[in-house]
Subunit: 330 residues, 2 copies
């Protein structure tokens, strides 16, 4: 198995991307291919490079603020573009990138194309809740969709929950502004009607409940999904900030607050996206894990493990079976 | 000034509603009219009723789970319906209700009608951020709107920020999934285009930034707004829950965690919607403050003070001037 890593994507690339790959190398059975400017990557490789870490040169880099389509078209030798092409050519089984999310999405769509039966790709995010975690999608790939596309998101989300998150009979809920049937805007009402044909559909779920109830998969359009993600991040940071502001700066007075560290440690761990790795881009003929732009080495290491698991457990094939099998049923 | 209070609406009605009114009575210049089943209200009034607290009998109550339109049509003598009619008849200047939000919205729309120039009402929520607070609307009144309606929300939000929140030149941001122009779904792009004509428009804001940056007013449709509200509540509860679960239950071991209380106190206060009161329903020919169903006495007291401020500072007239003045300009 070969995992292709966009070594130049992300706020701390290539340093922390390379570091994450080096940390993952002893943990994976296959090869890691770092794609990027070899001159800029090499200084971070250290003395003894693990035998399963390879370099693949690419002369260009797509910046975090570049316009996705324009950048992909112009920079044919960008690390991201070269990486996606390696997967397309069969030289890689999955791509990991912490670069420009829009560019990564567009590049994989254009290079790999949608899987059979899928009309819109979706980015799925693993979020924490009281009972462990759940998958929210679409978190940002397809902002303008029809209610029909939410059925595809549900099917792909189930495939991911089964193959990578270890859920055996994942249930899917529709993110809505009320629990009962008939709630929501016209879009949500129509999506409900379409989803209700499936036995795995668990009905509507509210933004508050998804953090409190056991849930496997929650579907929504990318606009709502991205707002949920950013809002959650914002509130969590606000709270941590407020807690911190109450702790005295005086060293002696601070002592009394030491037990707070015990409390904040596990909290931070649960809230830390680096623990999970990245967000899978689902619905294409290839596995792509998109990482946060601010990813550290741990996030990259975990994203590589996530990609390995997705390939190992046949994520792409499972999506194909789940979507086509069910499409055939109706 | 007469503030009308739906004494039967809310999970803890009439007890905590009456208690909240009694707490507010000495603080307001006008009269408080408690509308509801007098037999059920009287036991909570205690020995000496303040002279400015009056009772107005209404024999019926709309339940929290009843279908709004159906309930309003059938229960002509419901506390909510009677209260809205008192305001319409000029016997009251504002209505406060912690009952069924959908019913309160529908009842006020049908009884008072939209203000001139306003096509959709909006519920505005005051949310905390690092710099104090900001107003988010629509938080739940009108789930299906056109981008044009967001301009009305922006104008009404400014009027509320000026009259009740004390902001002199409030800026309005559009909730979106990216900062730059051209980001978002088709709806957001069109709303941006319409808002950009106004000097008070501050551009797009992301879900994370609105909790971090100084902001006055943030507009979005009710579906997104309600999801933001519930998501924020959910994450905040998850975090508080996780912190609590780390504190030992053993009394002696607990001692070391006492300073945590010092930290959690101000945090809880900032996150507590009862501190603010309720959410104004904007865009109608009347002032309505909608409270959380689980409102306690403090929330009701603060909602009454909020309503008093809105009447005192001419919220309705300001909305009329702001909307018509600006409509005349284009």
């Amino acid at each position: 198995m070969n995992i292709v890593i966009d070594a130049m994507g992300g706020d701390f690339a290539p340093e922390l991307i390379v570091q994450g790959a080096l940390e993952a190398a002893p943990l994976v059975p296959g090869t890691l291919i770092l794609v990027g400017d070899t001159k800029r990557i090499e200084p971070y490789l250290g003395g003894s490079v693990p035998p399963n870490v390879h370099l693949h040169h690419a002369s260009e880099t797509i910046g975090m603020d570049e316009k996705p389509l324009e950048a992909i078209r112009k920079k044919k030798d960008a690390s991201l573009v070269v990486g996606a092409n390696l997967v397309k050519a069969g030289q890689g089984d999955a791509l990991v990138s912490a670069g420009n999310t829009g560019a990564a999405t567009a590049c994989c769509v254009l290079t790999w194309r949608q899987a059979p039966g899928i009309h819109r790709p979706a980015i799925a995010s693993v979020l924490p809740n009281k009972h462990g975690d759940f998958l929210l999608l679409d978190a940002g790939a397809s902002p303008d969709v029809d209610p029909e596309h939410l059925v595809e998101f549900a099917q792909m989300g189930r495939s991911y929950a089964k193959t990578v998150m270890g859920r055996s009979q994942p249930k899917v809920s529709l993110l809505n502004i009320g629990e009962e049937e008939g709630k929501g805007n016209a879009f949500a009402k129509q999506a409900y009607k379409l989803l209700t044909k499936y036995e795995w559909f668990a009905g509507n779920i509210e933004g508050k409940e998804m953090y409190a109830r056991p849930t496997d998969v929650v579907v929504c359009d990318a606009f709502v999904g991205n707002i949920v993600l950013k809002t959650s991040e914002g509130i969590a940071e606000l709270i941590v900030d407020m807690i911190r502001s109450e702790v005295p700066t005086n060293a002696l007075a601070k002592l009394a607050f030491l037990p707070l560290k015990k409390v904040m440690g596990p909290l931070r761990k649960k809230m830390d996206y680096a623990e999970i790795g990245g967000s899978p881009l689902l619905g294409l003929n290839g596995v792509c894990i998109i990482c946060h732009g601010r990813s550290n080495a741990k996030a990259i290491r975990n994203a590589i493990l996530q990609a390995t698991k997705a390939v190992d457990n046949r994520l792409i094939e499972t999506i194909r079976e789940d979507v086509c099998g069910e499409a055939g049923r109706t």
